[in-house]
């Protein structure tokens, strides 16, 4: 049943190319409106122009930075809170119901109050991103810390490790796989919320650019922005997967 992998790759590439060519032809013949569906060549041309003239990098950097700050804050908060809740029953009982209520709240719903407190600012954007992105890391680290091997706890007691030592040497490495998986989901959420806050609060970045492109009906620019965001989503997902593999190499060692 084995087939050449090259052949499959070729089939997949042909299919994707066929879709793009069909789109190109339909748009050129004006069978689909080129205002709403500009041909792929115009979108790619626009993307190429932006990259060549250096217009692309500034908004890309701004969006990435905003996403990264929010994500870093969310990860820090998530791991600290998660460690507290995961290793203490009292903390779980006091905070659990409150967090259960807050978690399903759409993260964008805290944009209006955040604007009230922080104005239309970058801090507001970062706070909203952190609020939305904290949950996957938090849940993962609660679970990671709560499900520590009892034998490992005994070992750390026998070695008379201090609380900080046992945290650094046993609890965090043990919870790391789950935390990293949570952090990957958080990063995807951070990108979404970075775009949302840029659109809502007129913060500079890719999100604002595509909204402005829409308002002036510059559709190739709009599509170029969507493609850039898609590429970003793809790249960050793969970057963190690579990081996971690297950090968790020790787990792959044969038992």
């Amino acid at each position: 049943m084995r087939r050449l992998p090259q052949l499959q790759w070729l089939g997949a590439a042909l299919f994707a190319a066929a879709l793009l060519i069909a789109w190109q032809l339909l748009a050129e013949r004006q069978i689909i409106s080129p205002v709403f569906f500009p041909s792929p060549s115009r979108t790619l041309g626009e993307l190429w122009r932006q990259a060549a003239q250096g217009e692309l990098w500034k908004p890309l950097g701004e969006t990435s930075l905003r996403m990264f700050y929010g994500w870093a804050l969310a990860s820090l908060l998530g791991v600290v809170l998660g460690a507290a809740i995961g290793s203490s029953r009292a903390a779980r009982e006091f905070l659990g119901p409150l967090l259960e209520f807050l978690r399903p709240l759409p993260a964008s719903a805290i944009i209006p109050p955040a604007i009230l407190f922080l104005g239309l600012s970058n801090e507001m954007a970062v706070a909203v991103i952190a609020f939305g992105a904290v949950w996957p890391v938090l849940l993962a680290s609660v679970h990671g810390f709560a499900s520590m091997e009892p034998q490992l706890l005994e070992v750390s007691a026998a070695l008379r490790l201090s609380r900080a030592q046992s945290l650094a040497k046993i609890a965090i490495p043990g919870a790391l796989p789950e935390i990293l998986a949570g952090a990957r989901v958080s990063l995807a959420i951070s990108l979404i919320l970075a775009v949302v806050t840029e659109m809502q609060a007129s913060q500079p970045g890719l999100g604002q650019n595509i909204l402005l492109a829409q308002r002036s009906f510059r559709s190739p620019e709009l599509y170029a922005g969507v493609v850039t965001l898609g590429l970003m989503g793809f790249l960050i997902n793969h970057a963190i997967l690579a990081l996971e593999r690297r950090l968790l190499r020790w787990r792959a060692a044969p038992a």
């Binding site: 259960e100 709240l105 009230l116 949302v196």
Partner: protein, 252 residues
Amino acid sequence: MRRFLRGIAIPALAVALWETGSRAGVLPMDTFSRPSDIAVAFAGAFADGSILVATWQTVEAALAGFAVAAALGILVGALLGLSPALERVVGPSIDAVRPIPSVALMPLTLLLFGFGLQMEAWVVAFACVWPVLLVTAAAVRGIEPRLHDVSRTLELPFASQLRRIILPAALGRIVVGLRVSVGISLVVAVTVEIVINPRGLGYGMIIAQQSLHPELMYAQLFWLGLLGWGLNVALTRAAGRWHAFAGADAEV
């Protein structure tokens, strides 16, 4: 009982501090508002029905988008799951579209449909289709091969194969994907309303904030919290019941 008291302790304390702080003039009214005012605004929004209208607008868009996503996701997912060759050819194209953040499509659907139900529902549909599609493809791929042998022996036409054999066998896992999507649908609908679309609860919150009615904004935020929480609880219960049923079924 102790668990309940502990769970409610921090929120109750926060609300009490909030109310007294605001009455003592420590917390500025224009940002913090005041719990008692928020309660009045909450009751008022229900009394004049405005919050119910906004809720329906949000839920309508979320449901419409979810329905499209569920239908498309199950159909395409089942096809990809049934034919590994098709999946290898089409899969990479799908993987290329999937990482686009759903919210990036807002300007696009606005361009296509203008403001209103449709643009919101299509963004919701794009966000919701992936969990259903991926789970369905995986579930259909994992169907016991003997079931396929049976349908081949019975020479069932494809439509009844799908209805009688494939969907029932994969349904237990498809439900998991659907559940994830329902949760996403509400979140995305509210997001679209907050950012662009002038309808529903999200827009109501933005307008309340901009017209300096923080108490109304907080009332709507609380209501959204209740909705999200209620939906989550309902889905968890429903999934539990479904698994009890499906599990019993699988034993036979």
